[in-house]
Symmetry: C2
């Protein structure tokens, strides 16, 4: 509870800001993940981060005004940003997706504008925290979060706290090798999990291996346009080629998860984006079987492997989860 909160308002509110490479999402909400107001716009970095930050401040002020809150009435501000960044210094280093943002002090301007604590979290950790606080990981003490989007991102909540590691670089499970000296990865290494289960990698593969006569090609309007969703849709229809592709995908996902299970003994593994879209039948049921086949019962019997639950609310809730860390 904020001492200075206006009459009757007992629940502290937070301002969450998710700065994505393409979209910017802002939300005012509480520590339970209830969103009071939200807005979204293209990120459109202009090349001068000071100007970008001024626009973000203006958006934040407008959103707070919408719910009738003055800046000093919120408990904290959280910012989810692409890494690498330094949450202690409040500085973002040099994210590939934000041109012109290099060693930018994000916390300073926001603190001056709102007069409240500001916490920065890299987007993967913020998403992990959001699923842990508000989503599929709620109530668990040890959570591993992996999201198979264009690339593969990951975050850890261990012993009920986000684990960031040296230089806040932990959670890069997408680049743990699943095939030693295997497929080349966008990161420059070989055999990374991302090179098998990342959206870009699977898309590239589908375009090279999809038979022109297959259902995948038909759904995509040509094999050269094939994307993971076409393989998933065709597999659901029972297409053999697509089913084999989906099985291969799940097999590599298991290869990425099994070492994490042995090393960290998590209580829950939350998987976002592609696996969530694949669903229980095509992904989670066979994945659990495959993980159980390759890890000890002691580790898998009580392990939950579940889809991410926040869907389109994720960016808003990632910002709010980061805000909650300002006071954690």
């Amino acid at each position: 509870v904020i001492p200075s909160a206006p009459g009757g308002q007992a629940i502290p509110s937070y301002l969450g800001i998710d700065v994505g490479g393409t979209k910017l999402a802002l939300a005012v909400g509480d520590a339970e993940g209830r969103i009071l107001a939200r807005r979204r716009r293209p990120t459109e970095p202009c090349g001068r981060p000071e100007t970008d930050l001024e626009r973000i401040v203006a958006d934040g002020r407008a959103l707070l005004a919408e719910v009738g809150l003055a800046p000093h009435e919120i408990a904290a501000i959280g910012v989810s940003l692409p890494g690498p960044l330094d949450p202690v210094a409040g500085v973002i280093h040099n994210p590939p997706n934000l041109p012109g943002w290099k060693e930018v002090d994000v916390r300073g301007p926001l603190t001056r504008a709102f007069g409240r604590p500001v916490h920065l979290e890299n987007d993967a950790n913020a998403a992990a925290l959001a699923e842990w606080r508000f989503g599929a990981g709620r109530g668990f003490r040890h959570l591993v979060y992996l999201t198979m989007s264009t690339g593969v991102g990951g975050g850890l909540v261990l012993d009920g706290r986000v684990y960031r590691g040296a230089g806040c670089q932990a959670g890069e499970f997408g680049h743990a090798p699943v095939e030693w000296e295997g497929e080349p990865c966008a990161c420059g290494q070989r055999g990374c999990l991302e090179a098998y289960v990342g959206g870009a990698a699977w898309t590239r593969r589908l375009r090279s291996v999809t038979p022109g006569t297959s259902r995948v090609a038909a759904l995509a309007g040509g094999a050269e346009h094939a994307r993971p969703e076409h393989a998933v849709a065709a597999a659901r229809e029972g297409d053999d080629f697509a089913r084999a592709e989906v099985e291969r995908y799940v097999g590599y996902l298991a290869r990425g998860i099994v070492p994490i299970v042995f090393g960290l003994a998590p209580e829950v593994v939350v998987l976002g984006t592609i696996p969530t879209a694949m669903g229980e039948d095509l992904c989670f049921a066979p994945l659990r079987r495959e993980v159980a086949r390759h890890a000890w019962p002691l580790l898998t019997e009580r392990l939950a492997i579940v889809p991410a639950a926040l869907g389109g609310d994720l960016p808003y809730l990632a910002g709010l989860a980061a805000a909650c860390e300002a006071q954690a």
Copy 2:
């Protein structure tokens, strides 16, 4: 400082007990790892854990008497034990190496005998804590400990605290697959790190692949008696077969370490037993190169990969490190 400590004694003392499958080690020492008194004897479990525990209590009392301390004058008691165990309940489940010990309350009898806090830690975690508090991991915030003995054990100190995971089962890096569906492992799975770098596995391999005419066979008194130390000694002499074996060993060690580096971004990886015996030239220098070749500079540039430092003092210090956790 213990309020009730007798005049002049400002530094709290701890009693550490390491219950190994074959040897039992006890030490009285302080939180800096200074050992005031120690003793060691065969574990010799008699089949009745109550009797075994009574003997341990008698040993502890005798050791305390040696340094002139009454039980109530020590700060805490730590017990390092083979897992699986429950440090919260103070109960050891069913360690394969201690016949008759099944769901044994270890904390109860020790608390009653000494009247001080008792903390149980599984041996791998206790060793990790010992290297972190007193040894090669001192001063680091994020430590991964791996020991390549008969099998492969592991422990984690993350954010300056031991990380135990669900059911206290974390740290089983020895069973993360380094070769999917690879060599059979003693644990029943295939391709585990332990199946390549564990002492038993390497011994078995050496006995099957060592040429009878090789230097390894000469040192061992026959290829059928070959052990890792013979391969290491022959490699140091420049023997080609032994060098290839050592390189293979280091290569698999790197395969085990690289995913951990991506996932946890540790500051230090401490390796015990076989790598420590192999030393800088045969193990650590090539291992660092191999890890750096397969992980990002961001993660490896400041990463220390170092030999365990505690040597023969490890059991004593593992017990003391566990004791320090009683108050952590």
